[in-house]
């Protein structure tokens, strides 16, 4: 899954360790600058532009997947 690839690349986590309950803040490679890189990476990959208010509330992978559906991203 491309989404898991981006998470793995940005935060240095194995794809096999990612699930819907994965909390970004708890990943070893997390800091707020890396998270910003992650958001811009998602926007580029899926050709979307998150509204600030939408993306600020996302804390885990499951919530992110729901948000991506809202932005009509069908293939994760």
């Amino acid at each position: 899954m491309k989404l898991y690839e981006i998470i793995s690349e940005t935060f240095g986590v194995n794809q096999s360790d990612i699930s819907d309950s994965t909390v970004f803040l708890e990943l070893d490679g997390w800091d707020s600058m890396a998270h910003m890189m992650f958001i811009t990476g998602l926007e580029e990959e899926y050709s979307i532009d998150f509204e600030g208010d939408d993306i600020v509330d996302v804390s885990n992978v499951g919530e992110l997947k729901e948000l991506l559906k809202k932005y009509n991203v069908s293939e994760l």
Partner: protein
């Protein structure tokens, strides 16, 4: 007056410089824990049309050490190899000559720490781009606040600098609450980059690379324009 406080990153991506651009004073947060799988000591370049990671060699890196406690292990062999990699990747890029000098100036060092090297890379590029932001280093200028809880330390540093606004990357919204900052008389804002594409080689655009890539393919003025495109939440 706006303040940002961020871990030092080596040749970071454009969002880092957008944050620098937004604030009056940028504090390098070097006396916090190193992030082994993070972006303090590494980033991506464009090599043969793909994203390719480079990493500054370190001595005994650990998440139990502070960023300013980790020494780099750059020797002449590594440096020659890295510059060769840059040459092969970018020698046909329009601004190769100027940018490779910046890289050489950054990396030609005696024994040093990754914090010092990363800070040097950011400051040299900021100077090249004629950015007016003032820089400070947390371990040198704000060591007395080290024991404070995260948000409180950021607020303390902001106030010490005479700031009324703290700007964080948008990734920090889980950690920091606008109401709490407001109760401490500091406005909290978040920066959300807008990443514009630019011409690389004949490849499909690869985003999220080190500032090195942007500078290789864009003039100083074009780079400044790319850096100025973001929104504040």
């Amino acid at each position: 007056m706006k303040i940002a406080i961020v871990q030092p990153y080596i040749f970071p991506y454009i969002g880092y410089f957008q944050l620098i651009n937004e604030v009056d004073t940028f504090v390098f947060y070097d006396d916090v824990n190193f992030i082994k799988k993070g972006w303090i000591h590494r980033n991506n370049l464009l090599i043969n049309g793909s994203k390719n990671l480079f990493s500054i060699p370190l001595i005994k890196s650990s998440q139990n050490k502070l960023i300013n406690e980790i020494e780099v292990a750059i020797d002449q062999n590594w440096l020659s190899g890295f510059l060769k990699k840059i040459e092969l990747a970018y020698k046909k890029a329009p601004n190769y000559d100027k940018v490779v000098e910046l890289i050489k100036n950054t990396l030609t060092v005696e024994k040093t720490f990754i914090s010092t090297l990363a800070i040097k890379s950011v400051i040299l590029i900021s100077e090249y781009l004629e950015m007016n932001t003032e820089f400070k280093i947390s371990s040198q200028n704000f060591s007395d606040s080290r024991g404070l809880e995260k948000a409180n330390r950021l607020i303390e540093i902001t106030k010490k600098l005479g700031g009324d606004t703290y700007v964080n990357p948008i990734g920090g919204t889980e950690l920091y609450d606008k109401d709490y900052f407001s109760s401490q008389h500091i406005k909290l804002q978040f920066i959300k980059p807008q990443i514009d594409t630019y011409k690389q080689f004949e490849n499909q655009f690869i985003e999220g690379l080190s500032i090195i890539d942007i500078l290789m393919f864009n003039s100083k003025e074009e780079s400044k324009k790319l850096i100025s495109n973001y929104s504040i939440i």
